[in-house]
């Protein structure tokens, strides 16, 4: 199939439909709305359902119900809306249900602004809801990846019975780039024997629940779940290295900032500074082992983010602070320029260590 010019938001919607998702529940919010709009146009034509709920909270609980029946379901929103969904996200995780949640981030806190941001990193990777839990968090950096990671998110969610989040931002959602919906090879997935979809008196009924009154029972269930998280951490880490082999300064970034940082790395190299880029594609599982390995041969890390410094702490932990790890970024909806990042690389490279 030839390439199509599409907005990132639309690419996610199309990829979800192609992944066999028939159910979208959402509530409009800038800069994510094209996703719901696309679903509203396409789902009825393609045997699916797009439902605009009365609120974000309703939408996420509809996802819970739909996925409990074994169907693939998706919801999308932007930062303030994701906060509203956090209760439902925790219930879905606590019920061991798969689903895909899209966050096209905008500036925060509060209603914040509507321009692109990455300030929900901590929320997505640390506390997407209450309780001991993780989401799989995927960070696309192009419209093409908005599509390909959405397909993957559904597979991962089903394979590990846990919610997966696409953590994008307003720029990726709004921009158009060519996208190729090449035939994706879906994973072989276990049958959903746990689904509440009618037992026809032929088997025991299934129960989907997140309430366990006995502490020891709940503890066992949480521990069991964390064994699955270990599998995710072992098998599903994704990242990309660019010019890291001989690099002195390595930028760690994800999403839209990673591609801006890549241009900065090229400029710094042109000025004789050995810079490199480590792009995280999965934020949970975080590529900690790979960064640890890198920390033995580089002189410093710079975490470039569109926030006040969130992922920088994960880089510090992963590398055991073996070398200096600093943050560079803009917040509030401001996209850093190639020039700003290049200047930071040049400033740091001129700095004498020790």
């Amino acid at each position: 199939m030839s390439k199509m010019l599409m907005k990132g938001n639309e690419a996610i919607a199309e990829a979800a439909i192609r992944a066999g998702c028939k159910l979208f529940f959402g509530y409009p919010i800038t800069p994510q709305t094209e996703l719901s709009e696309y679903m509203a146009k396409q789902m009825p034509k393609r045997g699916g359902l797009c439902l605009q709920a009365e609120s974000e909270i309703a939408a996420i609980n509809m996802v819970l119900g739909a996925t409990a029946s074994g169907a693939r379901a998706i919801t999308s929103s932007s930062s303030p809306g994701i906060s509203l969904k956090s209760e439902g996200i925790s219930y879905i995780a606590g019920s061991d249900l798969p689903c895909v949640i899209v966050n096209v981030q905008r500036g925060g806190p509060g209603l914040g602004g509507i321009q692109p941001a990455q300030s929900d990193y901590n929320q997505a990777t640390k506390a997407p809801g209450h309780g001991d839990l993780h989401l799989i968090v995927l960070a696309p950096a192009s419209v093409q990846e908005m599509a390909s990671l959405t397909g993957l998110a559904f597979d991962l969610a089903d394979q590990y019975r846990m919610p997966a989040m696409i953590l994008a931002d307003g720029a990726l959602g709004q921009m158009m780039e060519p996208v190729d919906f090449e035939e994706r090879t879906p994973r072989e997935l276990p049958e959903k024997t746990w689904a509440c979809c009618g037992h026809g008196n032929k088997r025991e009924h299934n129960i989907i629940n997140s309430l366990y009154i006995q502490p020891n029972v709940l503890e066992d269930i949480v521990k069991e779940r964390f064994k699955r998280y270990e599998e995710v951490e072992k098998n599903e880490v994704m990242y990309e290295e660019y010019m890291c082999d001989d690099a002195d300064i390595v930028i760690v970034a994800y999403g839209i900032t990673a591609r801006i940082a890549k241009s900065a790395v090229k400029e710094a190299r042109a000025m004789g500074v050995k810079a490199g880029l480590f792009r995280c594609i999965t934020l949970y599982p975080f590529p900690a082992k790979e960064l640890e390995k890198l920390s033995h041969k580089v002189k410093r890390f710079v975490s470039v983010e569109m926030n006040m410094g969130q992922m920088v702490n994960d880089v510090k932990v992963a590398t055991d602070c073996r070398v200096p790890v600093t943050h560079c970024g803009r917040t509030g909806g401001v996209i850093p320029t190639v020039k700003e990042i290049t200047e930071e690389i040049m400033r740091l490279s001129a700095k004498k260590e020790g």
Binding site: K3, L5, I114, M175, M176, E177, P178, S263, I335, K339
Partner: protein
């Protein structure tokens, strides 16, 4: 090849013009990106759109130092002309912008796109008139190739739109300054 910033008022077809350039770039096998301003300024205020057409994968989709600036109103011209790269170009709709570019390190191109569109009965197609002029002056794409892309962009149910666009494009392309 080029980073392009198109800027004007909402409703002038800035985003459409940008999309035509990106679409032509994509079909020619280039790496492209298109990023609109999507803030409240869309509703009647200033509107702009960042376009990248490159040989290598596009880094930042946001154009802060354009090779080519296309200005459809005075506030946008004044806001952005200083950011144009040395050796770059600025395209000015001279029916809406009375300023003359004072920079000597960039090339300024003037075309009264809006009035040309109006007097030819193609009101609202100043954007396509401008595209014709841009393609002629920059040679970003050959005329035949760009025209074929422009034609293909019209919905099949409305072939008359394609005809109007081609006529407007021709006005800009053949404009003799």
């Amino acid at each position: 090849m080029a980073s392009i910033l198109l800027a004007g008022f909402g409703g002038q077809g800035i985003l459409f013009a940008g999309k035509q350039l990106v679409s032509a770039g994509m079909n020619a096998g280039k790496e492209v990106s298109w990023l609109p301003s999507y803030g409240p300024e869309m509703r009647g205020g200033t509107c702009n759109c960042s376009v990248n057409i490159e040989d290598d994968p596009v880094g930042s989709p946001l154009v802060t130092e354009p090779d080519i600036l296309v200005a459809f109103n005075k506030p946008s011209y004044e806001k952005f002309y200083k950011s144009v790269k040395k050796g770059g170009r600025v395209f000015i709709d001279s029916s809406l912008i009375d300023s003359k570019c004072e920079r000597t390190d960039i090339t300024a191109e003037y075309i009264p796109a809006t009035s040309l569109a109006d007097i030819s009965g193609f009101a609202k197609l100043a954007n396509v008139v401008m595209l014709g002029y841009i393609i002629k002056k920059t040679g970003l794409f050959t005329k035949d190739y760009f025209v074929s892309c422009l034609k293909a962009s019209a919905p099949k149910s409305k072939p008359e739109l394609a005809e109007l666009n081609l006529k407007a494009f021709e006005i800009g392309y053949s404009y003799d300054d």
